[in-house]
Symmetry: C2
Subunit: 232 residues, 2 copies
Amino acid sequence: MTDNDRAVILVSGGMDSATAVYEAMDRGYEPYFFHTSYGQETETKERECAEALAGDVDAADFCHVETRHLAAIGASSLTDAEMDVADADLDSEEIPTSYVPFRNANLLAMATSYAEATDCSAVFIGAHSEDFSGYPDCRPEFFDAFQQVMRVGTKPETEIELVAPFVEWSKTDIAERGLELDVPYDITWSCYREEAPACGTCDACAFRLQAFQRAGVEDPIDYDERPDYLEG
Amino acid sequence: MTDNDRAVILVSGGMDSATAVYEAMDRGYEPYFFHTSYGQETETKERECAEALAGDVDAADFCHVETRHLAAIGASSLTDAEMDVADADLDSEEIPTSYVPFRNANLLAMATSYAEATDCSAVFIGAHSEDFSGYPDCRPEFFDAFQQVMRVGTKPETEIELVAPFVEWSKTDIAERGLELDVPYDITWSCYREEAPACGTCDACAFRLQAFQRAGVEDPIDYDERPDYLEG
């Protein structure tokens, strides 16, 4: 870490990115929030949560980007109203239908532009090891490769570190770390399917409920249905 | 090249990307046009030219993406109305004020999402060696690094080659190759400053006029002013 202690954090409003905010602050960074509406079906709720988190930590800046190109390009159940969001299958090795082609490269490219324009020295992303069972752009190799692009594609005097603090962690590890850091999980949102209450049955709800169960704490948000994923 | 002979081409509507279209077709690819309005001051004119080119080659598809985030993030004279576009200084080693932070990473990330969604096997970009005198994200190292991100950040079965055919060329080489390929330069647009006629004095006009002069051919578009850059 340099003297410049400002960091852009990709904040979707979910539990992983909320924890990334508190992790960055715990490491001494001043948080610059970067939030996108990319046409995901739950974008209003996600934005409300990201803004509530920004208020909670008194963020230095909140950059909200409406970027319709991922929805225009399509091919994901998260952005294509014609495709149904599937029920969770936590043991599947298939790429889920919720995969948005190359989404994290798009988000990190935007976040890096923002970081370069605001003179931030780091970009934090809350991706974790259980994401990359399904999404190729959540793997450590992907972040290593993207760090190299950031190194050679920005101005010579720009040095921005890409930090994915949870990349080797499980979602349960994140929940445990977040509870330690007092992350206000009641104002976070993970469900892929509904605006409120969370459905409890999509991939995102399933992984979240399982993580809280394994951390031995009750998830503070409301669910339409609360299956027991420890038995699954 | 594989059996899959579809290629996404980043088409701004300028002479470099127009030449990239004809180069890709000369290599046997069916062209999928990818054009963005990112808030650049001459976007209407650029889009008209890109659409005219798509008509000229009977493009398989035309993906137009309106993406306001680069303008929202700012810090470039191309997208920030408060900053003036500077007159050309072809010998300067400074990063020009027209630099949009990390622009090509943003554009290539979008183009890769589009290529993956449409099952294209290549992405062409018309960047060349005189660009990277000023822009860090036009250098060969940048494209090599981005190719690696494309390799690890897309689905395992996806193979997309990043092709920057002119990366070691001068703009004069491009003009010469384009004249050989009969690129209709009369329907292309390069000026950073005006909608029509081209100013003749910004960086983009200066490099274009110089390239045509060196290729020994008159640039077929109209200019407000036509300085002699061979003497400069």
